[in-house]
Amino acid sequence: MTADSAMSFLIPLPVVLALLGAGVCLAVGHNARAQRVISFVVLTAIVGIAATLLWAADRDGPQVVYVGGWPARMGIVLVADRLSALLLLVSAIVTLSVLVYSVGQGIIEFGRDTPLSVFYPTYLVLVAGVSNAFLSGDLFNLYVGFEVLLAASYVLITLGGTGPRVRAGTTYVVVSVLSSMVFLIAIAGVYAATGTVNMADLAVKLQEVPEGVRVVLQLMLLTAFSIKAAVFPLSAWLPDSYPTAPAPVTAVFAGLLTKVGVYAIMRVQTLLFPDSPLSDLLLWAALLTMLIGILGAIAQSDIKRMLSFTLVSHIGYMVFGVAIASDLGLAGAIFYIVHHITIQTTLFLVTGLIEIRGGSTSLEHLGGLAKAAPVLALMFFLPAMNLSGIPPFSGFLGKVALVQAGVDRAGWLAYLVVAASIVTSLLTLYAVAKTWNRAFWRPRTEEPDEVGEWVPSTGTKSGEPWGDTVTVTSVRSLPRAMVAPTLTLVALGTALTLVAGPLFGITERAAAELRDRTPYIETVLEDGSMPGDSAAGEVSP
């Protein structure tokens, strides 16, 4: 191993530990308790490793490891720069909280028609895929990371194999497979044009590729990642497939999976295609994603679906920051990713609690929860206000940075997107306030429906492994193991305001590092630098 920094041995660990943990979990499949302990230990370790990596990357610049000791350009490299390490840390914290929540939900104990030993191993494989995608310094390894997390997500989204989940899972799997195919074609094109898939190497070599070819490659990569990130017009799959899954699964998907796509867009745009001619296109995509997503959210009468649409809508903010590509724009986008991972996961976890307490997530069936469950009301209210960007929450701070960056860029299109982002913020407030009013504030009523018969919406009423004992009238006390992690995440999301100064410092340095590109390229290529013997399409002996 040609590591020149003390910390680089830590880089592969988030992937390796998670995969090892998954294997051991499968081996002890009959013992749910052992599975829980293993998963918890592994994820806690990953949180610690990610924090160390972030500290090291912030102090010494990008940390690199050459897997298998192959020199750069020959083998796979894993790179932890500030962006990767920060996102790794946030995702590790979120996955750990969701794990505790899912233990509380008792997917394992109470399920009857689920192949139960599958949940924890699959969950760890998902974490391994996410970590691999964040850390990969190689385009093909990024593809493998995506596939690992997608394969795990296929299993999780169809957990239990009930009718609605099979229906939703089908859409999800087919769309994901298609996006992977587009990604593969793009990789083949990149390799044919440059003879390498190492991202640092590509950053240098793509400059010599003719402009037209470069734009085609960039468009293909952007298409593939936009499907994964649910950027309009490639977002229609998301609100269809997410709401039917179990609450912890939806929460972790909503928090992380789309953000991996956004991360890939950000990495490719800054490292491989700086100063691209496509930034106007991205601005349009951001504009439409925000507006159409939020208009969809307003029309929904189910909390999970409403949240899925706001998820799509707020992806637009991150794409906006990437499209501007100034220091402030990127810093704002990274800050927004951190904020949004935390908040969106929290909201879906709270929705899971609402479902247990109120028996439904449909707004027609809920009411009076503010009186019946004041803590739950607070747990919904704080992140909801945070999401819609009320000062002084972190959502507000992220939006201010993005709006500022948009105004700095100037030009009518940038101003238009800035206006749209403010309108979206207000409409988000409307959507969550409507939910708040219906589910929490108004007294409980059981009105008959005026418009036709009510069709059970998301398949979470019956046939669910643990949900079929919940009826509309059930008023249970909430399991402490579910409330504690949710409260932790609520507190974390609120505390983002308190640590906003240092956090924004890190995202600013991360953005500067992304824009500079040289630290990344030099750190990766320095060790394995060989005189240019790898011309296009030829093998270096």
Binding site: V166, V173, L178, D240, Y430, E538
Partner: protein, 146 residues
């Protein structure tokens, strides 16, 4: 870089067949469609690897006329992944047949519900009418939307 015309034609035809099958409603045909597209993509990698040469085995053949081994390694990875996903899709199709008696991909219930409301020109069931609204800031832009 030389390109094999036969391979290009095969890729095009396979792709076209795959896309056609993908647009079907039956999940089994969609699976076959994704498999065809996956194979076409694998062939693209073969094209991307350049002119064919000797087997890329060290000490076996001369380095200079060797084929490029890297795309072959990538194709192998891609084949394995496609195989796994296809197996999962087939399981989904089978489960769908168990539950519904067919394997057609269904529309989303909520989507159809909202479309029906739009057809009837009715407000969503969660639309607040005239009740006191504690969060009044949110109501204004929404009114503009309606």
């Amino acid at each position: 870089m030389t390109v094999n015309l036969v391979l290009i034609v095969v890729i095009g035809v396979t792709f076209a067949c795959g896309v056609t099958l993908l647009l079907e409603r039956s999940l089994t045909r969609i699976v076959v469609g994704t498999l065809l597209i996956g194979n076409a993509v694998n062939l693209i990698f073969i094209v991307a690897s350049g002119a064919p040469g000797r087997a890329p085995i060290v000490d076996e053949s001369d380095p200079s006329p060797m084929s490029d081994p890297l795309p072959q390694a990538m194709v192998l990875t891609a084949i394995v992944i496609t195989l796994g996903v296809a197996a999962f899709l087939l399981a989904l199709a089978y489960r769908s047949w168990q539950l519904e008696g067919h394997d057609e991909v269904q529309d989303d219930v909520e989507d159809r519900l909202i479309m029906r409301l739009a057809d009837l020109d009715e407000a969503s069931q969660s639309y607040e009418e005239g009740t006191g609204d504690p969060d009044e800031e949110g109501a204004d832009p929404a009114e503009a939307e309606r």
